[in-house]
Subunit: 265 residues, 2 copies
């Protein structure tokens, strides 16, 4: 499981204020904390600052990369201009995710060449012209269509991560099952899957319990990467236990190590 | 999910001593505690007392049924004589599980008529003549063979619960995946599945984390019943979250109720 730490997101008040005031320390601390908890990538999302996003994201990327040389990052924006601006200051070194494209032709045409140029992994939301998908079959159809278009540009399916767009079980109780069912279908295309975990529990109490149960199920279904809060101990504990259960952790060594370091709930 | 509370088991020292000294209070407290935590059945296993099992189990069943009229119980013994003795004192009222048969002809011939007579649900271990199963296919083959033999006696597959025999991931890392894979295969026979949860985490630290991650996966695979410790808050929290995720909990009402009652971790 590739873990992408979600905490540097301007929907969070502290992050928004730190970006607005151009105070790097809080952002750097958030990045370090997530890496210490097991994140492999630091997601950077400045999209709440709306008009300022294009300016904010390059400053934020520079701050994180200067403080943590070689850190792997995930540039997270629906706006190709913001992605472009971030890449202008981006320093090669770690690995890179670009998050995201959809089936929208213009967005794909803008982003795919950049992903190729920077040798980035690319997240594609399974959102088609008709908007949000409902069934697993909808998700698969959008994924296949995106993959066909991308393959014309020479983009390797192995670097493609489809997000099947989980929605809250509190308001759309059938959607979690459809997302889970879509994972092996999408993987049969030769591509990977990624999930923004916390949406599943929106509107419910004790969200970590829902998030961790859903993560275990998604890992069994074959999920390759998750965007989550790695400081959430229960979610990370279940991620580690799931690796042991699915024999993705030889001799349970990582699980036992995490226990010894006090990282399990 | 049908939850069978596992705590009245003479492998536990306190239970063994209470049975030996014929002190009912500790056993009754254990039963009440499990029911309060959400168990639907109370498992009664006296098999550690070896030669005394046949005497102990009827006393234990009487103690629990007298204190808790109408309680649903699970008679748990590899020994048909112990099951028979327990049924001699058993009072109809709640529901009944008999745990267990295997593919062994004699054990099946002894137990199946009792399960029919007492309208019990019957647990069958997927253990064939060659001993413990390895692949999901092994488990399926044993289950099908047991089901064919039982169908000759008129036993309804709907009352049959196959236990695919989970083994510790610490020593047999591939077995958990095989068990998970076997669940939908066995269910395709029209029968149910049950799992003795805690074996999966034997030999590992912080067993509740492994148990709860495995339970979430097994529920997604279609597990119908689990033998577990319902006083383990994390496992029960994940069981409740899983029901919400799999839309087996309308409006997440049971999950939200459990939160309000302080039952979630």
């Amino acid at each position: 499981l590739i873990i992408i730490g979600e905490r540097i997101n301007s929907t969070r008040a502290g992050i928004r204020e730190a970006i607005k005031a151009k105070k790097p320390d809080f952002l750097i601390d958030e990045a370090k904390k997530q890496l210490a908890c097991g994140a492999q990538f630091i997601d950077i999302n400045c999209a709440m600052s709306a008009t300022d996003e294009v300016q904010d994201i390059d400053w934020t990327v520079s701050v994180i990369q200067s403080a943590l040389p070689g850190v792997s990052i995930c540039l997270d924006s629906p706006n190709p201009l913001a992605i472009k601006r971030a890449l202008e200051v981006y320093k090669a070194g770690g690995e890179l995710f670009i998050n995201s494209i959809t089936a929208e032709e213009k967005r794909m045409a803008d982003i795919a060449p950049l992903a190729l140029k920077y040798d980035a992994k690319l997240i594609a939301l399974t959102m088609g012209a008709e908007g949000m998908p409902n069934s697993a079959e909808d998700r698969f159809a959008v994924a296949r269509s995106i993959m066909l278009k991308l393959s014309e540009t020479g983009f390797d399916a192995k670097r493609l991560y489809f997000d099947p767009l989980i929605r809250p079980v509190s308001t759309e109780p059938e959607q979690a099952k459809e997302v889970l069912r879509s994972i092996p279908m999408i993987k049969s295309l030769g591509a990977n899957t990624v999930c923004g975990l916390s949406n599943v529990s929106f509107g419910l109490p004790d969200r970590k319990v829902i998030n961790s149960a859903f993560l275990a199920m998604a890992l069994y279904a074959g999920l390759d990467a998750a965007i989550l809060d790695p400081t959430e101990k229960q979610v990370m504990s279940v991620a580690r236990a799931s690796a042991a259960i699915l024999s993705d952790d030889e001799y349970c060594a990582a699980y036992i190590g995490a226990f010894r370091e006090g990282r399990l709930v």
